[in-house]
Assembly symmetry: C2
């Protein structure tokens, strides 16, 4: 579950740019919007922040302790698309010594995504 400052905007951004599919939408017991998404086969929920319940956005904390890894066919194109849509580059997509072609971006809501594919060796 990813806490954000503006769940409605985040869900829209993830749908348009990451191909997220909305599975369910509800209010939490304390009234925040909770939207369940499917992103690349993973179940991810987006929730509006609520500091009194310790649900703090990266905007509030000034960073995040979690990176989400997406494995896709063409990481270069996806990273470019995310940057054009307002994400910030943490490191560019490149061949990495750990056997992946991978980059990292921070989305406009402060969450961090590794975008990569495994490198096929000849």
């Amino acid at each position: 579950m990813l806490t954000v400052r503006e769940a409605t905007a985040a869900v829209e951004w993830y749908a348009v740019n990451l191909g997220a599919r909305e599975v369910a939408r509800a209010a939490s017991p304390t009234g925040q919007l909770v939207v369940e998404l499917e992103v690349g086969g993973h179940a991810i929920a987006i929730v509006d922040e609520n500091p009194s319940a310790l649900n703090l956005s990266p905007t509030a904390l000034g960073g995040t302790s979690v990176r989400l890894s997406l494995v896709v066919a063409d990481p270069d194109s996806l990273a470019e698309r995310l940057l054009r849509a307002g994400a910030r580059e943490v490191f560019p997509v490149a061949d990495q010594p750990y056997g992946m072609r991978q980059g990292r971006v921070e989305d406009p809501f402060g969450h961090h995504w590794l975008i990569g594919r495994r490198i096929t060796r000849g």
Copy 2:
């Protein structure tokens, strides 16, 4: 990928208390320990913090923007076990209006876990 202040201790704690299975262990290109785990069928990596690469622990940030959800047969027992092992209760395991029996704990490294099962309706 979960950033922590002490990856070695965190990996041990997750193995003992969450049944995490170590899949691989390596150093990142910048020298931090990266340990890939399998926890309840999910692939999770634990990484030592490195502020210069924006990899900050919840300890450094003073919180987290992500909750990880584990669905288990007996959430009451697992939550009790985690609390005995040094986790802190955010809210106790109880029947929730969204159709789960669920609680939430913060582990000793600052990451947040929802521990629950779906409620079977009669």
